[in-house]
Symmetry: C2
Subunit: 210 residues, 2 copies
DNA sequence: CGACACATGTAACACGTTACATGATTTG
DNA sequence: CAAATCATGTAACGTGTTACATGTGTCG
């Protein structure tokens, strides 16, 4: 869904051809989400079929026509779609499946899984990702003030921080549950070493629930 | 990807048939992510084809065999897959495309979009989602201590809080950019009212990236 | 010349959703 | 009996990824 609307939004500015759409998309999101070129063409075909875009008559001969570049432009219906996209908020009522949350939920359910070790490994991986983002931010911040790309990076940083906080939260919850269930729990639940790394931002532990 | 592995993980506990797998999955995630039954069957077919599950000979006649229930159990390869899933962290190196981030990134790029209003609308929607989650938490917390379902809810809460913080962050960044670009910017960038609602949890604004 | 960026497409497949068809068992 | 729940499946379609085929223009 997001790719389809993103292409339409890009065409709002001016008619473009497939390859250019990919380039523009990646430029605006800082190559955070590399966009497959093939998908651009198939999506454009569908969009044309649905009457949201149409081949632009374009300045034939003006540009070096080179090898059959096919520019597309928005139709009126297409413009409506873009406007609607920008006015209706993204629905978080039915959130997308998050593989990490599913994994943890099943890990605490299925017997024989070392949840403590799993949480630790994930925490390390997420911390690494977070550091990569902040490093990118520093580099991007020096070069220029590209607002869009900078905001996308910030969203990744905020999400990574929340993820790490949640992992820490999970650890205390799981440990507490194991303690209440009889101390030695299943396998290595108590054997795992304590974090040893300092908390992410602020400890924040004020127990959101109830 | 997540569904496939989730089904395998559920079969780790004991052999199950399709309908039961859906029920168990939703029970563990508190119906946060409703799982289509049809998909369970098609996924099981693929898993059997790939040698990760196999029909369980099962206690014929023990259970009321009713209407041809087809139980599946893990193969050795399947058990390896589950173990690998639980030992390797979820890769956030190439984060999934987030429609909201894409939308905002394009909104600040494409001319003629009222970014301030867009941010406000999204903030309201996200706040509503957050309130729904906390309400659910309170209700679930009373009934019983289902750890998995509780952790999933917490992950949604943490993510929603981060999203709202990010939206606020976007607003200040966009406003600052508009001011630096010449104050009256494009359209209503300065006309939008200030948040007026108090910050989510703690203000927290200490600018994450060093 | 050879490698690389530009440019357009197709094929195959995985994953996900919606909708439909079919039938047994349980329960009001 | 009628409706709901349990249970299994198929068809169609949208979306996304990987890989391949094809050709031009540029630059070292």
């Amino acid at each position: 869904m997001s790719v389809k609307l993103a292409l339409l939004a890009l065409l709002e500015t001016e008619p473009m051809y497939g390859y250019q759409l990919r380039t523009e998309f990646e430029a605006r999101t800082g190559s955070t989400w590399p966009l497959n070129v093939g998908q651009v063409y198939t999506t454009l075909t569908r969009l044309e079929r649905d009457g949201l875009v149409e081949p632009a008559p374009g300045a034939e001969g003006a540009e070096a026509d080179g090898q059959s570049q096919q520019r597309y432009r928005l139709t009126d219906r297409g413009r409506e779609e873009v406007a609607a996209w920008f006015t209706t908020p993204v629905a978080r009522t039915q959130p997308a499946r998050d593989e990490l949350a599913i994994k943890i939920a099943l890990a605490v359910t299925v017997p024989g899984v070392d949840v403590g070790a799993l949480l630790q490994r994930q925490r390390t991986a997420s911390m690494t990702a977070l550091q990569d983002y902040t490093r990118l931010k520093r580099r991007a911040g020096d070069t220029d003030g590209d607002l869009a790309w900078s905001l996308v990076l910030d969203s990744l940083v905020f999400a990574a921080e929340a993820e790490i906080r949640w992992l820490d939260h999970c650890e205390t919850r799981v440990r507490r549950a194991a303690r209440e269930r009889g101390e030695r729990g299943d396998s290595a639940a108590a054997t795992t070493p304590q974090p040893a790394t300092q908390p992410v931002e602020q400890p924040t532990e004020q127990e959101a629930g109830r």
